[in-house]
Symmetry: C2
Subunit: 217 residues, 2 copies
DNA sequence: AAACTGCCAACTGTCGACAGTTGACAACTC
DNA sequence: GAGTTGTCAACTGTCGACAGTTGGCAGTTT
């Protein structure tokens, strides 16, 4: 069962998954400290693998390490949101451009499908309005076929999710976002890299502005 | 002395610095494995801190982890170079745009200084032709004032340095690069974000092409 | 001779314990 | 009473040792 199970994933790897989940869902709230011995006991593992998991999540930006003090879940901060979205804009605009020139017909099918699902969920008032937004951006970077950019986009989006959990913000201007997505898909379908980049930039700047709003109450 | 010196930097932190140096200089050649016990003994530390150092460098892309096999210095690979430069282009073009709108007069002084020093070193035939190239891009991203982008650029440039060490390539088209740099500084001085981005893209595509050349012999 | 099988050494993954540092509380001084 | 200093518990940083896995080599079979 659980004691000696290094058969598919190391204890450190499992700890990474569990901790990531707990951090992203806000189960471990922003600003709080992660106690090594306490969490290790709770997970039923030793401090060694847990430390590795903590360092790994720190390298992803989901934890901040303070020497001799431990690991903390980073707090939401206006400057941080701004800096993060500058990075996200650089990466996703480039991804949009690449997607416009590299997308296959299958990519277009997937993108249309996600957009349609978004509107379906929106009408029926589904519980996780961000799920399909994430899926859309995920599908887009796959269409860009640039593994290193994709890797970084995933990390940045993860941090955005963390910020959102700290904000607990209300349903966003989802309608505007969905319109952006549609326009983005059209530009990509047309192979119009320049337009795809511009639309993406506008889209992200809108999302960023909205997050800044819900931060300052 | 050396045995108990956690006064300024942890053993893991010191190990990171030493290992990074050895990997980047090719002292530990690409493709080779990093033996935990062996290196730990050589550094005079235990396996714990060394493991943390290895994982850290792996998160920077300077090592590749294989479960139950250990850490390896990644090999040079054409696809990898291409993917890496797509990421670098996305990041540095964005940085160039931001620098064009945010640079201070002091930034311009520094950029001009680096360019002048490059030409000076070039004429006298200095040993490290890449040193000032790195310094230029470093100065540029500082002028962009976007901490997250700067962070990622640094990591990508580090990986490029690693690739170069694996290539052991000859003096590059340094003259063309210096011209690019001058043109870049001019665009940034003029506040012309669009041109800065275009010049940067051309510059990086040239550098990338050159690396691909020296790979395929 | 080639291919398969079983064994073995080397190494990674994990654990429990010790040492050093940090922040906080309490006692003391002015 | 406010500020300072001494003490202490809690936690991180580090270490050495054990267990499980991997790749290779020797021996065997066809």
């Amino acid at each position: 069962m659980t004691p000696p199970t290094p058969l598919h994933l190391s204890l450190a790897g499992q700890a990474v998954d569990v901790l990531r989940e707990q951090v992203l869902t806000g189960e471990i709230p922003p600003g709080s400290r992660v106690n090594e011995v306490e969490v290790a006991q709770k997970l039923g593992i030793s401090r060694g693998p847990l430390r590795e998991a903590i360092r790994h999540l720190a390298s992803e930006g989901l934890l901040t390490l303070v020497p001799h003090r431990g690991a903390f879940v980073p707090d939401a901060d206006a400057d941080e949101v701004k800096a993060l979205f500058e990075l996200r804009t650089a990466l996703e605009c480039a991804a949009a451009e690449l997607a416009a020139s590299r997308r296959t017909d299958m990519d277009l099918v997937r993108l249309h499908e996600v957009c349609a699902a978004s509107r379906r969920d929106y009408k029926t008032g589904q519980p996780f309005p961000y799920r399909l937004d994430l899926a859309f951006h995920q599908t887009l970077i796959e269409a860009a076929r640039s593994p290193r950019i994709a890797e970084q986009v995933r990390l940045v989006q993860q941090r955005v999710v963390l910020l959102r959990s700290a904000l607990a913000d209300d349903p966003p201007h989802q309608h505007a976002s969905m319109d952006d997505h549609d326009e983005l898909v059209k530009a990509i379908a047309d192979g119009d890299a320049a337009k795809a980049s511009i639309v993406m930039r506008r889209h992200l700047s809108r999302v960023c502005a909205q997050m800044m709003m819900s931060m300052s109450h």
